[in-house]
């Protein structure tokens, strides 16, 4: 019994302790001129879908939910965002060459088509980020038109 108490206490202290470890926030008030939305004429419905479903991990500005301020969730998210931005950063879209843009668009289509993006771990929490069959088709058809 005493042991259990001690373990609980240690875990509690550890939990409080890790809250003091700082994480890097992916937030910015500035929308850079290279942003995908600024260099492309994006229809409003698609704009909002991309914003809600993609921009949290694939842009310079994450819309953080409250629980992300709590560790260890914050670490988990930080890592995801870093990886996501390394793959594709909509904020830096126009800094890519045309070749890379069309390459990225092909990958975006593949990821959405195969339901790999948005990540299921993400849509579990953000149910509004989930794409319906209709959303998927709409986005794919539109984004495909960018490279045709």
């Amino acid at each position: 019994m005493k042991i259990v108490k001690k373990i609980v206490l240690v875990l509690l202290v550890a939990f409080v302790g890790i809250q003091f470890i700082p994480t890097e926030r992916n937030q910015s008030d500035i929308v850079p001129v290279t942003d995908f939305m600024l260099v492309n004429k994006v229809p409003n419905n698609i704009k909002s879908k991309l914003q809600v479903s993609c921009y949290d991990c694939h842009s310079n500005n994450t819309n953080y939910p409250w629980y992300n301020k709590i560790q260890p969730v914050a670490w988990f998210l930080e890592d995801h965002i870093k990886q996501g931005k390394a793959e594709l950063n909509f904020s830096a879209w126009d800094s890519l060459s045309n070749r890379r843009k069309s390459s990225k668009i092909r990958s975006i289509i593949k990821q959405i088509e195969s339901n790999e993006m948005p990540l299921s771990s993400y849509t579990k929490i953000h149910s509004d980020a989930k794409f319906s069959e209709n959303d998927r088709n709409e986005i794919i058809v539109w984004i495909d038109s960018l490279i045709k």
Partner: protein
């Protein structure tokens, strides 16, 4: 009294572990960023290109590096033809390296710009191939094939190549081969001979 000591000890250890962990994490991050930067600088630094030139001179083969890229590409293609994910990973990684060291200084400015773009794109696909399951490898191979085809237009090659085309995979996909005989890298054993020669290069 003894209990208090034990508890304090455990707490102290917990704190130490946490501190150590957080330091390690921060350090790792730092290294990652640094590595990334070095890599980027590497690509653009003149010193790097100079060393490439030396390497080229030693090979005494003007297109040595472009041929190396092609060699890796064909190895990668053969791995996909034989449905070998592990081998494809390996050759993806090898090809990434060959792409990164391509010497471009002898080309015109316009060609250099295009080569840089091709390489930047191809490196990314080769890297993905080196760490993805086979279905993804094939998706990336399709775009990589386009990159390599465009690369060969600029660099040329000593061998005759065949651009082959499979109308079934992803609304039609092309690839390059050294032999005229069709061996499909997108389907492997499932549809080994699907496709036709679309164009002869050289």
């Amino acid at each position: 009294m003894k209990n208090l000591k034990v508890t304090t000890g455990i707490l102290a250890m917990a704190f130490l572990t946490l501190t150590a962990m957080s330091c390690k994490d921060a350090k790792k991050e730092h290294n990652y960023d640094e590595g990334h930067n070095t890599e980027m600088n590497h690509d653009n630094s003149d010193g790097h290109h100079d060393s490439d030139k030396k390497e080229m001179a030693m090979n005494s083969n003007q297109d040595g590096n472009a041929e190396m890229i092609l060699k890796d590409y064909f190895n990668l293609k053969d791995a996909l033809v034989s449905d070998d994910e592990a081998k494809a990973k390996e050759f993806g990684a090898v090809m990434k390296k060959s792409l990164e060291i391509l010497a471009i200084s002898k080309y015109t400015e316009e060609q250099q710009t295009e080569l840089k773009e091709i390489i930047e794109d191809a490196v990314e696909h080769a890297e993905h191939i080196s760490e993805s399951p086979i279905a993804h490898q094939r998706e990336h191979f399709k775009i990589l094939s386009k990159d390599v085809t465009d690369l060969v237009v600029i660099t040329g090659t000593a061998n005759t190549l065949y651009e082959q085309f499979c109308p079934m995979y992803d609304k039609g996909s092309a690839w390059l081969s050294k032999s005229e005989e069709v061996r499909n890298p997108y389907y492997g054993s499932r549809m080994l001979k699907c496709g036709k020669v679309q164009k002869e290069i050289n």
